[in-house]
Symmetry: C2
Subunit: 222 residues, 2 copies
C-alpha cells in the first residue's frame, strides 16, 4: 500500500506539472495574442481554459480521494495539501490569462495606442516567476523558491510604469483614448496578479519543505 | 468517533474565525497607525504578528492531524483543506499588515506629504472584503462570497487614484518627495494584495460549498 501511495504521489506531481505547463502556455499565448493583435489566438486561450478547469477538478478530487483512501502520514498529507493549494493558484493564473485574452479581443478592432514595451517585459517576468515556482516545487528547492520573490519589485515597477505612461501620456492628454488605454491598464493588473500567485506557490513550497520550524519565528513556540 | 470529528471541526471553525479576527485587527491597526502617525501602534502590529504566525501553524498542524487521525469522508476532507487554504491567506493578510506597519515606521519621522483620503477608503474596503469572505465561510454563504468580488474594481480604482496623485502631483513635480511618497505607494499596493487574498478566500468558499459542479463549466466533464 505504501508503495502504491508513492506511485500515486508521483502521478500527482506530474499532474501539477501538466497544470503548470498549461497555465504558463495560457499566459504566453494571451500576451502573444496582444502583441500580434490576434483575436483568434486570444479566443484559443479562452477556449482552452475549460481543459485547465477540468484538470484542476480532477487533481482536486484525486487529492481528496488519496487522503480518504490511504490515510497517509502527516508528511504525505502535507505534500498533498500543498499540491491542492498550488493547483488552485495555477487555475487562477490561467483565469487571469483568460482575462487578458478578453481584453485583447476588445482591443483587436482598434489601432494600438502605442508600441508595447513594458507589458511584454512584465509578462516575461510573470512567466519566469511561475516557472521557477513550479521547478522549486518539483525539486523541493527552497533557494529557487526564494528567487521567485525577487521578481516582485521588478513586476511592481513595470506595472507602475505602464500605469504612469498610460495615464500621463494618453488618458490625461486625450480622454478619448480611454477605450484603448484602459484594457492595457487592466492587462498590466492581471499580469501583476499572476506574479502574486507565483509568490503564493513559492511560499507554499518553502513551507512544505521547511515546515513550521523555519517558516515563522520559532521563538513564538517557546 | 464521528461525533468527535464533528466537534473537532467546530473547533477548527472557531480557530479560523479567531485567525480572521486577528488578521482584520492587524489591517485596522496598521492603517490607524498611519493615520495617527503612531510608531508605537505600528510596532504593536509587528510584534503581534508572531501570535498570528503561531496560530497559523497550530491550525495547519491540527488540520493535518485531523486528516491523519480520523480518515474523514471526502466532504470533511474538503472542509479541512479549504480551512487550510483560508488559514494561509489570513496569515499572508497579516503579513501585509506588518508590511504596512513597517512603512508607517519609516514615515513617522517625516511630515505627512498630504492628508490621507484614498488609503483609508481602500483600507475599509479591504477590511470589509476580508470580513465578508470569513462570514461567507462561517455561514457557507455563496451569495455573500460573490459580494466579495464586487469590492475589487473599487479597490483597483482607489489604488490607481493613490498612484496617480502621488506620481503626478508629488513625485513628478518634486522628486525630493520620494521618501514620503514611495511608502504611501507601497501601502496602497499592500492593501490591494489584501483585497486579492480576500477574493481567494471567497473563491475557496464557493468551491467548498458548490464543489466542482458549479465551479467551472460543467460541460467540460461530459
Amino acid at each position: 500500500m505504501e508503495r502504491h501511495l508513492d506511485e500515486e504521489l508521483k502521478e500527482l506531481h506530474k499532474d501539477i506539472l501538466q497544470m503548470g505547463i498549461m497555465a504558463e502556455e495560457a499566459i504566453f499565448k494571451s500576451v502573444e495574442a496582444l502583441k500580434n493583435r490576434d483575436k483568434n489566438q486570444a479566443q484559443t486561450v479562452i477556449d482552452e481554459d475549460k481543459k485547465i478547469d477540468a484538470l484542476e477538478n480532477v487533481i482536486d478530487e484525486k487529492c481528496i480521494d488519496l487522503i480518504a483512501r490511504y490515510q497517509p502520514m502527516a508528511k504525505d498529507v502535507r505534500f498533498i495539501t500543498t499540491a491542492m493549494k498550488i493547483n488552485s493558484d495555477l487555475e487562477r493564473i490561467a483565469d487571469l490569462a483568460v482575462d487578458i485574452a478578453q481584453r485583447v479581443i476588445e482591443l483587436s478592432a482598434k489601432p494600438l495606442l502605442k508600441p508595447l514595451v513594458d507589458i511584454p517585459k512584465l509578462s516575461s517576468i510573470a512567466q519566469k516567476m511561475v516557472q521557477n515556482a513550479l521547478d522549486a516545487f518539483v525539486n523541493r528547492d527552497v533557494s529557487l523558491a526564494k528567487q521567485v520573490f525577487e521578481g516582485e519589485p521588478q513586476a511592481d515597477t513595470l506595472r507602475n510604469n505602464v500605469y504612469t505612461e498610460l495615464v500621463y501620456d494618453y488618458l490625461a492628454k486625450d480622454p478619448t483614448t480611454a477605450d484603448r488605454a484602459v484594457p492595457l491598464l487592466l492587462i498590466s493588473r492581471h499580469l501583476e496578479r499572476i506574479c502574486d500567485h507565483a509568490t503564493n506557490i513559492a511560499e507554499d513550497v518553502i513551507y512544505m519543505v521547511e515546515a513550521k520550524v523555519v517558516k515563522h519565528h520559532p521563538e513564538a513556540f517557546k
